[in-house]
Symmetry: D2
Subunit: 344 residues, 4 copies
């Protein structure tokens, strides 16, 4: 029988979580919750309400009704029906919402904007699935960290990785953001970036440091990784591992994939719903060597990259699969990532 899932917060991430859950044959999306007739919420109505919307704040119910959005009940109604809730409320709000989840005895998975204390375990489907087994409150790694760990874990399991030094070129706003953005400006953050320290928490046997620079782009982050493997590896060996990974694509600059936006555009051209991409990409011609260190650049589509690992989290928390590879494979199959098809 399908496990029943709810999504709390129907924004940039929540929308993708809902779609990702809908695709899982062994899960049922009971509904999503939000408080206002935002564009994502309005889009639900425009699509004919493919799933139910619940209101997360009764004071704001009139706003939804005035906008003509069909509301199926309150968050409490949703919580009383689900086996697990995926929290994708704005950063910091999840911690406040937790009391409702606790009250209804519903396990919850929080997104990377929340602080560590909200959860029992800091989780990444591929890197530490076992840590999440049976845990009631999981905190997903952030979008950058999720993508980064995918690539580092991929090499680590094959060859061993001692340490990484990363440079994150971060999109400073999502498309359409009115509340943030930079013009003609690259903002530099102090080191180490949280992505590096988060990686060390998920993969404690790897040392990591890194710089994060925010730049005026909206379609995905780019990370340059300098990784020290436990033994010298070749470009071909690394490529073979990346090619094998269901959540990683290898693309070639020489074949037109020379930017962040090329990958976004290709998602549009291939009619992916919402022009989204679950997979990260490695730019093949960026693989190089600094002594025995291997360097490579990856593309991280910030809007949808955490969806697979969040769904892995459902599997772990509810112990749907005990085995890591069985779990991620189930997620992958339902998302169309396995068996792996070439991107192009």
């Amino acid at each position: 029988m399908a496990v029943k899932v709810g999504v709390s917060g129907y924004g940039t991430i929540g929308k993708r979580l809902a779609e990702g859950v809908v695709a899982q044959k062994d899960m049922e999306l009971v509904g999503v919750a939000d408080v206002a007739p935002t564009l994502p919420v309005k889009s639900l109505k425009a699509r004919g309400m493919p799933y139910k919307l619940y209101c997360a704040d009764k004071n704001r119910l009139p706003d939804l009704e005035k906008a003509g959005i069909p509301v199926s009940g309150m968050l409490e109604d949703l919580l009383s029906q689900v086996d697990i809730i995926l929290d994708s409320t704005p950063a910091g709000v999840g911690a406040k919402m937790k009391k409702f989840y606790v009250e209804y005895g519903v396990p919850a998975i929080f997104q990377g904007g929340e602080k560590g204390e909200v959860a029992d375990v800091f989780f990444h489907g591929y890197a530490n699935y076992e840590k999440g087994l049976g845990k009631k409150y999981l905190l997903l790694t952030s979008c950058n960290t999720t993508g980064l760990i995918r690539a580092v874990d991929c090499l680590d399991r094959a060859f061993g990785v001692e340490k990484v030094a990363i440079t994150i070129i971060r999109r400073c706003a999502d498309p359409g953001d009115l509340h943030r953005g930079y013009v003609d400006l690259a903002k530099v953050d102090p080191v180490p970036s949280h992505q590096a320290t988060d990686l060390m928490e998920i993969m404690p046997h790897v040392k990591a440091t890194g710089l994060l620079v925010h730049v005026p782009i909206t379609h995905g982050h780019i990370i340059n990784v300098v990784a020290t493997p436990k033994r010298k590896i070749t470009k071909e060996e690394a490529l073979a591992e990346f090619h094998r990974h269901p959540r990683i694509h290898v693309v070639k600059i020489s074949e037109g994939f020379a930017s962040n936006t090329a990958l976004f555009q290709f998602s549009r051209f291939t009619h992916r719903p919402c022009a989204d991409m679950y997979e990260i990409a490695v730019y093949e011609e960026t693989i190089g060597f600094s002594g025995d260190d291997i360097t490579f650049a990856i593309y991280i589509p910030q809007e949808a990259v955490t969806i697979p690992e969040t769904i892995d989290g459902i599997r772990a928390s509810l112990q749907m699969q005990k085995d890591r590879l069985e779990a991620v494979s189930a997620t992958n199959r339902h998302l169309g990532l396995e068996p792996k098809k070439p991107l192009y």
Copy 2:
């Protein structure tokens, strides 16, 4: 029996033309032609070749083959099968391609990047459909002009329009463009912009002037129109006409549609293929009055806006419908624009 259509040039516009033709029940897309394994061409392969690709230059056939793109023949093979060809090769190339179309006796519709002399008539489905009837070579108005004329023609048919003064805030590059773009710069062009003079050619009874300013955005143009109607009109009257038009949506800034990108994002959120939009939008709160002149701002999604009017062009050239409204309605029905549904 369906008329047979080919598309020559499978780039930003060609891709959308092909999809638009596929949607028409009284048309058949025989195939598309291109010369290189660009991202749009690669996306065809990734989608399992929903329609056939022809090679437009035998010297470049090896490039397509090397990239593993299935090729169904040469442009000549396509031309010998079609009743009409839609040219969407890069600006200026269409004029060179015309000799092939002439050789095969195939009527052709060119996009707005070409010069007027390439065609028998300068065409806009809503504004001068009758001019295109039976004409062998049609030149479509450019994306900005197409959208602008939709709005002006809409008011003109209802109330009469004497003159317009426009300010075009033009997206300076398409998403992913590597060959053009401005950073922290708004480029000012001399007046009048070609959109104003083009409007006068299509609607000779209206006087027009306008300024075009290129700005660093990629998701659609914004035009502010100052229109002098033949009689004083009210905001409600204008709104009623815009609401009635199948290719125009009225959106509210106060409801979240406060930018170009809001409309692009909404297209993503509603899972429109390729996140495209055929319709222009009028921002309701931008309707104002300067004396008796009415002013309003419109959003023009540059990538797909010309598709409906190009399909109208097929109908005119091949005399599929003699009546303007029958023609545009047929196009609209197949594209899902009629009967009109609210955007949200």
Copy 3:
């Protein structure tokens, strides 16, 4: 004897106000006040403290001291020495500061970010100088409005202007702003923009409406003006007036001035202090006609454009000159704007 002037708030505008006052031979800059070691404040120290800094909040004095910024006293010390204070604190803060100015009996001129009620009169040096005579609290028009009125007043005094419809292409952030900015986005505001209503307050005999669109640029605004003159005028007549105005330059797109940034760069190339420009520019090739209406586009350097009119405000408030033209000419002479030299 020179009138004694203070500047309260040493940020983007305050810095330029101070420099502008220093240039006036009949004024003396007693000092500037701020609360934190911001980049402009640090730059004062780096320049060897060309004028004195006062601290506007004793709780924040330690921050300034820790940063090694020489502090000459508190705001109160400054207020007790000056004949007038120029308030350029952040938008909305001026209203709170007013009580200090009142307490010390010091007239004040506020910048356009404040609300109208803070002042006795809404002021523009060229357009309504007489209204400011002897008034204790003046509110300057905002940067866009100041530049716009310069151009409209210039035509109005020569030919009469009945109404204007404007389209403002607004820089959405100043260079270096970390707290605001848009990426790949043009934000549309409801009409009428405040610049239009402000113009009507300053020039009550002119009707105005307008649209404001925020775009991702930092170096100046561009406004397209559609003006209805009282009698038909020619391009040459308009140009002659613009050429004559000490605070307006006419530039040609064909000579390299095709953008906002061209004017910023030219200010750098000519070694203007801070790469600033007090003058607005009219792009000559944007002058056109819509029926009898004249249209033209202007460039407004947002950082320094209000400085001359603010200094005019000092002259009005303190009745240094009773005559409008005598006053603006005095300001102009000291700023090097009169006698007028060609920009290039």
Copy 4:
């Protein structure tokens, strides 16, 4: 007696070269040459011709004359007066100009846009001054490489550096560029970037690789460096060396220097001519460690950063100083970089 210097090509770099030479007490700027009334050339006229302009192409002399630019003669006249010419014509043009320099027997220094074969030696004032001694044709490293080598050479001379892995976040256009630029796009280049290979040519004992990503900013590049020193060093040791270097500033993110543009703005605020900066900056809080590797991010002001090293090149080519430190110190003193003052 002062050596006589000419500048060929008065654009972004040429303008700064001319100003830099003017500042050298032991050099005399005879004049600059260009072919068109560009904005930099027009700015010379606007400044009252602080130095002479020569025309580099007699066919284009009428353009300069028509623009009212005073021309003192042809390039040949300039070449016949100078001891050395600094070539700052557009990339690739320098190679064509060389025949004129050869014809007049004039040594020349080319900028980094030219290919290596144009010169006898690839030059960097601090890193390989001795190689340039008495050489007739020098090729300067590019702006990114010049700044990068400054920092790496600084550490290398103090501690020894074995290898570096760099990530360059490159401004994709200069302010005002109409011919290039990206919108909402970060372009990724194949590794190794030329900056890494160039570094190895200048510093053959250091291994280098690196990734270059072009981003939509105009005010300076940012490079993240991962350097492997010959012995473990501390942050304090590294900082001490950076602080000591006349062409490097250490800035703190926590003190407001959190971006590229903060440094550009500070140059404006401190009234540097043209808002230029000769120095690179190290962001103090970006200094970190990956194992024994030290990582740090630098800011490179692309417009003026190569000026000091080019002037060093004059000293080397003409053997004005035999000793590296004497030479760079002379350049530094005249540019106001020595004795070193804090940036703020």
